[in-house]
């Protein structure tokens, strides 16, 4: 998992089967110093409670779908937690 900052929301009314009810957020991936790294991406919200501005951690690839209530859905990035505190050397 990696750190990411939620920078926006996304709404799509026509979606692939399985994506109904899945909350989608725009996230900016961060490096280990919490600085932006790479291009923003769209993540499904596995916590259902994340919102813009929050520091979260995301899981990619096959494991992303496993972070959602329905596990056989077409997603490749999902938020798995909202960071309260982190101390990085």
């Amino acid at each position: 998992m990696q750190f990411a900052r939620v920078i926006g929301t996304l709404v799509a009314s026509r979606k692939a089967e399985g994506l109904e009810g899945v909350k989608l957020l725009v996230v900016q991936p961060l490096d280990k110093h919490l600085q932006p790294q790479g291009e923003p991406a769209i993540a499904a919200d596995g916590t259902a409670q994340a919102g813009p501005g929050e520091l979260v951690f995301v899981i990619a690839s096959r494991e992303a779908a496993l972070a959602l209530p329905e596990v056989f859905v077409p997603v490749d990035l999902a938020i798995t937690g909202i960071v309260d505190e982190t101390d990085i050397v």
Binding site: M1, Q2, F3, D31, K32, Q37, G46, T47, Q49, A50, F57, I59, S61, R62, E63, A64, L66, A67, V71, A78, T80, G81, I82, V83, D84, E85, T86, D87, I88, V89
Partner: protein, 114 residues
């Protein structure tokens, strides 16, 4: 698997239920010369590792789920599976003590003077 150095911890109240009562560590990936690379993972700790430890990290979903007993479903991939005592590449051993870094935590003696 790769060799990494624990560089921090993550505390989260709202998280996937799989991570409840498990410790999450920030592990920076090291190359075989012991240099930090830009890559890192937030990994689940299974060996009571701490900040500064040089660790062995598994980054594969099925093995990770097996280790935490959550097959076949579980949103987990990176797991700290060992604390490294020694690494030798060719004839050269990595100086693990030199790799240890310690967190800049509160201390009653910030100057470090006796």
């Amino acid at each position: 698997m790769y060799i990494g150095r624990v560089s921090g911890t993550v505390v989260a109240t709202i998280k996937n239920e799989l991570f409840e009562s498990r410790k999450l560590l920030v592990v920076e990936r090291l190359d075989l010369n012991g240099h930090a690379t830009p890559k890192y993972d937030i990994a689940v700790d299974m060996v009571q590792a701490g900040v500064g430890d040089v660790v062995l990290v598994l980054d594969e979903g099925n093995s990770a789920r097996q280790i935490v007993g959550r097959e076949p479903l579980g949103a987990i991939r990176a797991v700290v599976v060992g604390i490294v005592d020694e690494v030798t590449v060719g004839n050269a051993a990595l100086d693990l003590e030199a790799l240890r870094v310690f967190p800049n935590r509160w201390t009653s003696n910030p100057g470090g003077e006796p």
